[in-house]
């Protein structure tokens, strides 16, 4: 099966390829996105408004940061992290409890990120020491984590009037304040991954772990680093989530999962590992976040949203599979 370690396939991913490989995907994504915007605007000219911009960028924030985490896991050959919902709710709970204790926003953010990294380390420990596949490990830890969280709390909310509460409602340069950190993180991660030693190691392990090991890269250390980094991004996404979600329960993050995986795959970050460009996440997440608003303008119920998003993912994965098949004859 294609999810199994692709030892004999794919040459070590060249950083050059990782830098340039995504632009075709980018143009296609941009075209589809613009098409959606144009179609909706033609049908309802009032779609093209500041209100729509606010709605789209607001949705992009949490999804975008989670997609960075998912992208790191996928690119390093960890396939998918199915435990993001449990991780984000855990970190959100930490953020809520810290802000209830009257901590400043900086402490809340650091606390949530640490909680996320701790969860990532927990996943990595099971994956590395038991040598089990991340998909099953994160499936199980998500099961266990969500159930445990339900035992701990039923409903939580950041205190009204706290710093994080105001952060969630603030705007900056005409867009929601939570949008800007997401934009900055995607740009920085996309810039650093192909240009730093750590980033290139991650790509190398994801592309061909046997070759990476032969070059002296520690697979265990890379695995820990990638899952902890990915967990840290989930922790930060939790801050944005807790700041804006209002009252949430342990099941509140479940519906995000698919959009994030779709965003990562549409961005050309292959689930097979070693391939992709993080900057493309801005286009794919932007496109996916425009769909709900667009459907509302077309007068379709919110249930149809799942139909579109679901089939878009099926098509995206089919294209990804087609590309991978052509790349490895």
């Amino acid at each position: 099966m294609s999810l199994n370690p692709a030892i004999e396939t794919a040459p070590p991913a060249a950083p050059i390829k990782a830098r340039l490989g995504g632009w075709g995907t980018g143009l296609m994504l941009l075209a589809v996105w613009l098409l959606l915007i144009a179609a909706t605007s033609l049908y309802r000219p009032d779609f093209f408004s500041h209100q729509t911009m606010l709605a789209v960028t607001f949705t992009m924030a949490v999804v975008g940061v989670l997609a960075i985490g998912q992208g790191i896991v996928a690119m390093s050959g960890g396939f998918i992290d199915l435990s993001q919902p449990a991780n984000m709710i855990l970190a959100s709970l930490v953020a809520v409890r810290l802000s209830e204790a009257g901590m400043p926003l900086a402490v809340v953010i650091v606390g949530a990120i640490l909680a996320g990294m701790l969860w990532g380390a927990f996943n990595a420990a099971i994956i590395v020491f038991a040598k089990l596949n991340p998909v099953i490990v994160t499936l199980a830890t998500n099961f266990i984590g969500l159930a445990a969280l339900f035992l701990v709390f039923q409903l939580a909310e950041v205190p009204i009037g706290s710093e994080i509460y105001h952060f969630g409602r603030a705007s900056f340069l005409g867009l929601p304040a939570i949008f800007w950190p997401m934009l900055a993180l995607v740009l920085v991660v996309g810039f650093l991954v192909p240009r730093t030693r750590y980033g290139r190691r991650m790509i190398a392990v994801g592309g061909n772990r046997a070759a990476a090991k032969a070059r002296g890269i520690s697979l265990k250390a890379t695995r820990f680093a990638t899952f902890m980094a990915a967990g840290g991004f989930v922790g930060f996404a939790a801050v944005l989530f807790a700041a804006t979600a209002g009252p949430f329960n342990p099941g509140s993050a479940n519906t995000l999962q698919l959009n994030i995986i779709a965003g990562v795959i549409l961005a050309g970050i292959s689930l097979a590992g070693g391939r992709g460009n993080f900057w493309m996440l801005l286009l794919s997440v932007g496109f996916l976040s425009t769909i709900p608003t667009s459907l509302v303008f077309f007068g379709l119920s919110s249930d149809t949203q799942s139909i579109f998003q679901g089939f878009i993912l099926v098509i995206a994965v089919a294209i990804d599979g087609w590309r991978a098949r052509r790349a490895t004859p």
Binding site: A140, S301, Q309, G310, W322
Partner: protein, 332 residues
């Protein structure tokens, strides 16, 4: 991969067969199952094994058993179909909708199953035709079908479609146990026979175990996987129809999250969602029964149902670890 149903008495193969049967995945799930039954018996008391209680567990696992028996074929052939949970929801919604429009159950059932096969066909085109990653592609189908089911259910969020004849049929008991539970067990046994004793079963396992070797041996990998994905969709469709008949209605929650419940139990029972060729319908059914037993025990002891998920998660990790120690792929 050997199993308890493997022919025992045949010359020198005998001892290996028995050794494999004692150390294989069916042996460990049988042990787990016995432990669950023993805990239930000692902790809850003889009431746990009463006909009344077994009927409650049995009624509860009918649909998972049917869905699991068919989905197992997809797992065996090396493709996982995550869309089964929503497929159950979609099937029950469409079936209930057709009944509420005055269709007779037989033609409503036929159309529903046909629709499920069409969506299974889309899965097959994406996965087999284009080489899409099965987990991600069927995750997309999961969400799409959930949307379609919810649109079918309308703003009410549920459709009432009670049919007395059908309800009587699915609630019928034979010898103190629900008829459909016994039928689901029979289906499991037939599936086990197909998997272990027939040429088709050998082909499916060969494709799942090593598709390149299977292709060299002249087996059409594509045909087997398309058939397996269609079977999986068919089983889920059947499950949805049985749900609608049992409940007399379809609702948004029908089938929600069922895929994770079923696959966790199947993996505890010896299947793998990442590698084909391993697992056996009997092991899968025992996995489903063990999980149902655990949740029944917690229910009778008035313990929070969330502990079921914690126990299932831990059992799942233990089962995959055992599978790896037995020779499954180690992940580095």
């Amino acid at each position: 991969m050997t199993d308890v149903t493997a022919a025992p008495a045949r010359g020198p193969g005998l001892s290996e067969d028995w050794r494999a049967a004692l150390t294989g995945s069916v042996a460990s799930i049988t042990l787990t199952f016995i432990v669950v039954v023993a805990i239930g018996w000692f902790w809850v008391g003889p009431k746990f094994l009463s006909f009344g209680n077994i009927s409650i567990i049995g009624t509860f696992v009918i649909v998972p058993l049917i869905v699991g028996a068919f989905a197992g074929f997809a797992l065996l052939s090396g493709v996982v179909d995550l869309s089964i949970g929503s497929m159950v929801g979609f099937s029950s919604a469409l079936f209930a909708l057709l009944l509420s429009l005055g269709w007779d159950p037989a033609s409503a059932g036929a159309v529903t199953l046909l629709a499920c096969l069409c969506f299974g066909g889309i899965n097959a085109i994406a996965i087999v035709g284009f080489g899409a990653e099965p987990i991600a592609a069927t995750l997309g189908m999961l969400v799409a079908l959930r949307g379609i089911a919810w649109v079918l259910l309308g703003s009410q969020g549920s459709i009432f479609a009670f049919n007395l004849d059908m309800f009587n049929l699915v609630s019928m008991t034979v010898g103190g146990l629900p008829l459909f539970f016994l039928l689901a067990i029979a289906l499991t046994l037939v599936a086990a026979l197909v998997v272990t004793k027939t040429r088709v079963g050998r082909h499916i396992r060969a494709v799942g175990g090593d598709d390149k070797a299977a292709a060299r041996a002249g087996i059409s990998v594509k045909k087997v996987r398309v058939a397996a994905l269609l079977l999986s969709a068919f089983g889920a469709g059947l499950g949805g129809i049985v749900y609608a008949a049992q409940l007399g209605s379809a609702a948004r929650a029908t089938g929600f999250g069922l895929e994770f419940q079923v696959y966790a139990a199947l993996m505890i029972g010896g299947y793998s969602i990442l590698r084909g060729g391993v697992g056996n319908p009997i092991g899968g059914a025992l996995g489903l029964l063990a999980v149902a037993g655990v949740s029944n025990i917690l229910d009778l002891k008035a313990i929070s149902p969330y502990f079921v998920n914690i126990i299932v998660g831990l059992l799942l990790l233990a089962a995959v670890l055992l599978d790896r120690i037995r020779g499954g792929d180690a992940y580095e």
